[in-house]
Amino acid sequence: MSETRWVRAACTEHVPLREGREVLIGPLSLALFNLGHQYLAVDNQCPHKGGPLADGIVTGTSVVCPLHSWRISLETGDVDRPASGRGLCVRAYPTRVEDGVVSVEVPVALLARPAERAEGAAAELQESHACTASKASKEEAA
């Protein structure tokens, strides 16, 4: 498993209830959501056309992209609508809240500027980034 790091991302009060905010962590742009009982974070680019997910409307534990209404699970990062988008996903990042601060667990390799990333790290990232659907099918095959 690749090395990860917990990053203090934002104060809880900076993300309004049931809304998302873009959080910049080094070269990364994340979309952080306040669902009341929990904070969830995913990549801020919709796998469809790169729409800003932080600007979407929250429905349950999913967000709807403001550009073409793709719906993405904030828990897994998987696309759950449209059917043609199933199998695509964004990375979902583990989060925790301590003393009014939301922290996000980020693979260290992602924090490097893309140009500086080593070959091996990229492949490893690819592996850890695979959608839960394809992960499940791989496990089944195994």
């Binding site: 934002a10 993300v15 809304e19 080094g26």
Partner: protein
């Protein structure tokens, strides 16, 4: 091939010809019409006059139909003679046409009473499309118009002229209106309703002379008074056109006499419609024409057998807001009258019962039961067992009961003559599921439209996949139709989206229902609700329009498209300072700055120093204007000032869908007001207010709402409609769908022709919302939510 000559290109002649061609398409047919138009729906002329329909909309058979049927159509040719020996007809143009069979469908003419000065310019009849066009050409706001005759036609003409802005007086000989259809009490109720609409009614008076030198200036009445008038419409009844019948040597009394097989006294000459007299009766209504036509078609094509035994006379006044229905013999001689009246509600109902059967009926103010009574009359039903429920039907167990209890043979559409059975058969056999499909394949409800509700009920009861779009729920999160939901929110005093979702929905909501609820709450509580930005689309969180790359477009408000060098300079400076990739003139006379970063929005707004143009939201967009009287040499109204004022009154408000408006100074319509949600069209002496136009995904010509004299009246009419749309439309329903769904008649009735208190209520709620509304771009200085515009930065450095 036998030669059939039809004299008369009206509804009776062509309906009969359609039937004949069904039986036997082997005639070589020539049709003469003295009007220069193809066959049109004469009973809809009052709708053309009232601006509800265009002349094209009332065409029944277009030219292509005649061509397809190989009919030789000769319009504009009046037949002046018939030679029954030589079997020829002679036209006013001198042409002589031979026939084997002749069909006279010459209809009737307007009766012109012997009044001095009847040929003065400005005196018109109301009978043909040309008459209607001439009335429309002359009508203008403030014009003084007198209608002679307070019958069906006279009242419809009066109402049409009033819609065009005229000041209308109805002069009528009898002591109440529509005395042929209504008893004196019913007539009095009608008088009250007509007066309430703002028309003057003078009863018990005849017109003795038309005054004026060359052009009409007034009318003199039998009580020695005079009325100013610039336009006089004579609607004093009709007379059957029997001249050709006389020339052909047929039996003629009041009309051309026909027997039950619709035969005249000459075996080769037939007659149908308003020119005939059957069992002593001449009809001037549409339903008998169709019934006669069917019987005659059978007789003429060698299928003699079916007989015509007369039609129960029935009449319905086609003035919205004034429901009047009359049928059968309502005289109280040897009959038991059954009555209900309520002066406060303006409802009067009278039935007459003879020998346990319904003999006649009069309904004023509430005609919803007219079909039930028509059925009893047509079928001669024994109603002794229903005496307790004559005026008010017993409460039905379910909504479909009324339709279910109708016999299969019962007529649903009195105009085109569809029975319940034939309509149900069509629904089953042709897979009909919607009202428009039903119209398409049965033509039911296409003529006068009074059976629309009944057809809807039938569809609902019978069509397997019928879905009434009005009843559609918003989404699965919140399974309620929108009208029901609005009622719930109002009665339960709910003010926040999340509260509604938790009590009535799945507690979560989605991108469909949340913005809809946000809109409804804002509208219902006039801005005094709990605004929840998480339930708004991103455009309404940051007050700009999101683009494909996540950047935003900024359009400042430029009211009426009128700007200044100073504003333009500031816009140019902003474009430079923020490296705006594209500056574009929009189709709405505004300027669009595209490609602005979300974080820059507050600074851009501050630098522009202009209010939000709301180009990103379901709200008031703009008023497009032309230069009007200020500069244009054709302008009749100051459309620019009117447009700027209009934009001021509506800006900053939210609506079910976007609202685009325009004001134009003359009918040249340079700012395209006829394809806007609301348009003001300047005319000589006033404004036309039009609504429901579109020139986007759909293209639709706006309907005339009302014609008024002053700019203030035009603005107020717009306000009344605007608020009505806000309150009654479904979310994401544009005005063109809304007006189409409700019908302009209903819209008028519930807006500009609603009681004063209703209109005041609409305006007050609009003003209240307006008082609460603010320029959204002020949030650039005082953000509404945390980090509303800027991205957050991690609280620690992470660079490796």
């Amino acid at each position: 091939m036998k030669r059939l000559v039809v004299v008369g290109n009206g509804m009776a002649g062509m309906a009969c010809l359609e039937q004949i061609l069904k039986h036997q398409p082997r005639y070589q047919v020539t049709v003469f019409g003295d009007e220069t138009h193809v066959n049109y729906n004469r009973i809809m002329l009052s709708s053309v006059l009232a601006g509800e329909k265009a002349a094209d909309d009332i065409v029944i058979n277009p030219v292509e139909w005649y061509q397809r049927q190989s009919i030789d159509l000769r319009v504009g040719v009046r037949i002046v003679d018939v030679d029954a020996e030589a079997k020829t007809v002679t036209g006013a143009d001198g042409s002589v046409t031979p026939y084997d069979t002749l069909l006279l469908a010459t209809g009737s003419s307007a009766f012109m009473p012997p009044i001095e000065g009847l040929h003065t310019d400005g005196v018109l009849a109301f009978r043909t499309l040309d008459d209607t066009r001439e009335m429309l050409r002359r009508a203008r706001p403030g014009l003084k118009a007198v209608v002679i005759g307070g019958g069906l036609l006279g009242l419809e003409a009066a109402r049409g002229l009033q819609v065009q802005g005229c000041h209308v007086t109805v002069v009528h000989l009898a002591s109440t209106l529509m005395e042929r259809q209504l008893d004196p009490d019913g007539g009095q109720y009608l008088v009250g309703k007509i007066q309430d609409m703002g028309m003057q009614v003078l009863l018990g008076r005849t017109t003795t002379a038309i005054l004026g030198d060359g052009h009409v200036e007034g009318v003199a009445l039998s009580d020695d008074t005079c009325l100013d008038a610039e336009l006089v419409v004579v609607a004093a009844g009709i007379r059957p056109n029997v001249e050709l019948g006389l020339k052909a040597g047929l039996d003629v009394t009041r009309g051309i006499v026909v027997n039950d097989y619709m035969e005249t006294s000459d075996p080769d000459i037939f007659a149908v419609g308003e020119c005939v007299e059957h069992r002593g009766v001449c009809y001037g209504l549409v339903a008998p024409l169709f019934e006669q036509g069917k019987v005659l078609a059978a007789t003429m094509t060698g299928n003699r057998g079916p007989t015509y035994t007369g039609t129960v006379p029935a009449a319905k006044l086609k003035i919205m807001g004034v429901d009047v229905f009359s049928a059968g013999d309502w005289s109280e001689q040897h009959a038991e009258p059954v009555r209900f009246e309520d002066r406060a509600l303006g409802i009067y109902k009278k039935l007459t019962v003879r020998d346990g059967k319904l003999a006649g009926v009069i309904l004023v103010g509430d005609t919803s039961d007219s079909h039930r009574y028509m059925d009893w009359l047509r079928t001669d039903a024994d109603i002794s067992g229903q005496r307790r429920h004559l005026l008010f039907p017993p409460p039905s167990a379910d909504g479909g009961l009324d339709v279910a209890s109708m016999a299969d043979t019962a007529t649903v559409c009195g105009c085109v003559g569809g029975s319940k059975g034939t309509i149900i058969a069509a629904i089953h056999e042709q897979g009909v599921n919607t009202m428009s499909q039903l119209k398409e394949c049965t033509r039911a409800s296409t003529s006068c439209g009074s059976c629309t509700a009944l057809c809807q009920d039938l569809l609902r009861a019978v069509a397997p996949e019928f879905e009434d779009e009005r009843k559609k729920v918003i989404c699965a999160c919140l399974p309620y139709a929108e009208d029901r939901l609005r009622e719930i929110l109002r009665s339960q005093r709910l003010k926040s989206v999340q509260e509604v979702l938790e009590i009535y929905g799945n507690g979560l909501g989605c991108e469909v229902c949340k913005p809809a609820l946000s809109y409804m709450l804002d509208m219902l509580w006039c801005g005094d609700h709990d605004e929840d930005r998480s339930a708004r689309y991103i455009n309404d969180r940051v007050h700009a329009n999101i683009q494909k790359d996540g950047s935003f477009s900024v359009i400042p408000r430029i009211r009426g498209g009128v700007t200044s060098p100073d504003e333009l300079r500031r816009i140019a400076d902003v474009a430079d300072k923020y490296h705006v990739p594209m500056v574009k003139i929009t189709g709405s006379q505004r300027i669009d700055l595209l490609g602005i970063k979300k974080a820059d929005l507050p600074k851009v707004w501050a630098d522009l120093g202009m209010p939000s143009g709301q180009a990103y939201t379901k709200g008031v967009r703009m008023v497009k204007t032309c230069v009007g009287t200020e500069f244009c040499r054709f302008g009749t109204q100051d459309s620019t000032a009117a447009g700027v004022e209009m934009e001021r009154r509506f800006e900053q408000l939210f609506t079910p869908h976007k609202v685009k408006m325009a004001t134009v100074g003359c009918p040249r319509n340079c700012a395209e007001a006829t394809v806007k949600d609301i348009g003001l069209i300047g005319i000589e002496g006033g404004w036309q207010v039009v609504v429901g136009g579109a020139a986007g995904k759909s293209v639709r010509k706006a309907d005339l709402l009302v014609t008024v004299e002053t700019t203030e009246q035009a603005l107020e009419a717009s306000e009344v409609f605007f608020q009505y749309y806000r309150e009654q439309a479904n979310y994401l329903e544009r005005t063109y769908d809304f007006v189409e769904r409700l019908g302009i008649e209903k819209v008028r009735k519930e807006t500009v022709y609603a009681p004063e208190a209703v209109q005041q209520g609409l305006i007050e709620r609009l003003r209240k919302s307006k008082a609460k509304a603010t320029d959204a771009w002020l949030e650039g200085r005082e953000p509404r939510t945390a980090a509303q515009f800027e991205p957050l930065h991690a609280m620690e450095t992470v660079t490796i």
